[in-house]
Amino acid sequence: MSQSKSGGAIGPFHSIAEAAGCVQVSDWLILTLVFLACLGGYHIHFMLTAGDWDFWVDWKDRRMWPTVVPILGVTFAAASQAFWWENFRLPFGATFVVLGLLIGEWINRYVNFWGWTYFPINEVFPSALIVPALWLDIVLLLSGSYMITAIVGSLGWGLLFYPNNWPVIAAFHQATDQNGQLMTLADLIGFHFVRTSMPEYIRIVERGTLRTFGKDVVPVAAFFSGFVSMLVYFLWWFMGKWYSTTKIIAKV
């Protein structure tokens, strides 16, 4: 921003203070509008792709959930990082969109799932993603390299997902005996609070051929998720770089 050395009138403004105030208002407007746009876009993307894995407690298994959610989640995080880092060197791209996603999800889960259809929050809470997002942002901040962020950041994004959700999920993986059938509390919540449109077989719980690691499927799933996230990160970094614009700010 150009300034008058005297501190008097500058361009169209009467004073430096007025110019600074206008910049501040512009900053807030940009932050708010971009945040709302990211919230909407990322939320729709996530509902359509991660969908049920993120909606329901009895979908949050050891294999598919920690594989699918990080891979589909790293998309907007990478694109947002490309926008905020390439143009502004601001290290909050991933946290920015993830916060938007989670605020949108919490509004959705509380107002729609609980407020309108009365599914208890313990059935419909979203996946926690802030910790992996902070990791991604800080790796970019420290390295200054999208390449290192894609490799180290995305791997960490995948690896941190399950441990960061375990403090909430563990309680729902306690066992109960229901009429001779072993069930977790998560299974039971899904069974009790009826979803007419969701038969039990629709759940994709630990299906696949990953059978040689015994009960230790989470680390394998997390590593796999991290590796695929690297590839997705590259793709979406360039999506963010090529398809975002700072045209208006450039004019300023």
């Binding site: 512009s26 940009i30 259809t117 942002d137 066992a175």
Partner: protein, 433 residues
């Protein structure tokens, strides 16, 4: 140019914009509220007629109560015959799931059984067999709700059974759903873990917001853009910024590790989600069920005509009575609808009126003697054909009827048999050909 952009941005922040936004939001709220209306059914009528008639034949359907209080239990029970000539257009019920059809969890399902087998997961159903089921439900949300049983078939979708209005009185705030864990502790499933969810999620949301706002206040957006555009990289990100980042990262990882360890300590024994097909079910083959019917009474459809304007189905049925008593046709049921012969059902059974045509069947009153094989002409006529959209059969790609017929003896025994086959529609009024 700079002037006009700044002026434009400044104008956006004026009171007029705020007023317009407030007006827009108010209009959106009013428009939304105007459209609020309770859902009253589950779209069962929208399913094709042949599908509803020739997949699952529901019978002996009962709701133990139609009015309950919050926390009070009721049972929805019945039998289902899996149609032998299952239509090719619908995937076979190799993986199926019993489900109550209700508008959200207004009733909580505490248990459900096929016969004696607890069935919280998917099961295989075999065409030609009959299964008894019951679902235990508990009142949760006050109101008047339409409640069905339905069976979802993988690849075929939900197939909805008869529905009944259930009145729930009381306050959902009083609802309790106690569950005993393997370690003996009891928890309320309605609220369990919610405090923990908020306690973990909300601080991280605040931390995320704090991270963004820290950089926002420290660097600004337009100022950051200018620094990058003018190539002032050192000012854009300096060592102090990296130091802050490293500290935040260290704290974040530390909190995650500590929370993970504490969680493992609090819940030392956890198991994975349980899923997969349950063991094969035992079909019922008791007297009076369609599963055992062919051994006692065999029925063969010998053609029929459906008169669309008159809502009248006339079918020729060859009946072989292998029992030791004379029998009379008392009922035809399909797609959850019951068409009764008033000569046999002298009192109206307790069943939802919209599905019960208590004078819907007329047939030659002469019984079929023991050992006799006879072709009878059965007329099934009622407005419910149209209302429940079974008359749309004429427009289906597989225009074959299906269902069950029930015969009764003077001593009160019942014999059930499956019936199905093609019928020819007649689209104009007048005498049947």
């Amino acid at each position: 140019m700079k002037t006009s952009i700044f002026e434009t941005l400044a104008r956006l922040a004026t009171r007029r914009v705020a007023q317009l936004m407030a007006l827009g939001m108010a209009a959106a709220v009013v428009a939304t509220m105007g459209a609020i209306a309770p859902a009253e059914a589950h779209g069962e009528k929208s399913q094709q007629a042949f599908l509803r008639m020739r997949t699952l034949n529901w019978y002996d359907f009962k709701w133990s109560k139609t009015s309950i209080n919050v926390n009070e239990e009721m049972v929805l029970e019945g039998k289902v015959h899996i149609f032998s000539a299952w239509p090719q257009a619908v995937a076979n019920p190799r993986i199926s799931f019993l489900n109550p059809g209700e508008p959200g969890p207004v009733l909580v399902r505490t248990a459900q059984y096929f016969g004696d087998q607890f069935a919280p997961r998917s099961v295989s159903l075999v065409p030609g067999k009959d299964y008894a089921f019951h679902i235990n439900l508990k009142g949760r949300r006050a109101g008047r709700w339409h409640v069905h049983a339905q069976i979802n078939v993988e690849g075929g979708g939900p197939i909805v059974g008869p529905g009944q209005w259930i009145e729930i009185k009381g306050d959902m705030a009083d609802f309790k759903d106690p569950i005993t864990l393997l370690d003996g502790t009891t928890v309320d499933l309605e609220t369990y873990g919610i405090g923990r969810i908020y306690a973990w999620h909300m601080p991280w949301l605040i931390a995320g917001a704090a991270w963004i706002l820290y950089w926002f206040f420290k660097k600004g957006i337009i100022a950051s853009y200018l620094r990058v555009a003018e190539g002032r990289e050192e000012q854009a990100v300096n060592d102090n910024d990296r130091r802050i980042g490293a500290i935040v990262l260290a704290v974040t990882i530390l909190v995650t590790i500590v929370a993970y360890a504490m969680t493992n300590s609090a819940f030392p024994r956890t198991i994975p989600l349980q899923a997969g097909l349950l063991k094969p079910l035992t079909p019922i083959e008791t007297e009076g069920t369609a599963g055992v019917g062919p051994k006692q009474v065999t029925v063969d459809l010998k053609g029929g005509v459906y008169k669309v304007p008159g809502r009248e189905l006339t079918i020729n049925v060859e009946v072989a009575n292998k029992t030791d008593e004379p029998i009379r046709l008392g009922e035809y049921t399909a797609a959850g609808l019951r068409f009764l012969n008033p000569d046999v059902f002298t009192t109206k059974p307790d069943f939802p009126d919209y599905l019960l045509a208590d004078r819907g069947v007329s047939v030659d009153p002469a019984p079929i003697a023991p050992g006799e094989t006879k072709t009878i002409v059965v007329k099934i006529q009622d407005a419910r054909w149209d209302i429940e959209r079974l008359s749309d059969l004429a427009y289906d790609t597989d225009s074959q009827i299906g269902g069950l017929v029930f015969f009764f003896t003077p001593s009160g025994k019942r014999y059930a048999a499956e019936i199905g086959g093609p019928v020819i529609p007649k689209f104009v009024a007048g005498d049947m050909p």
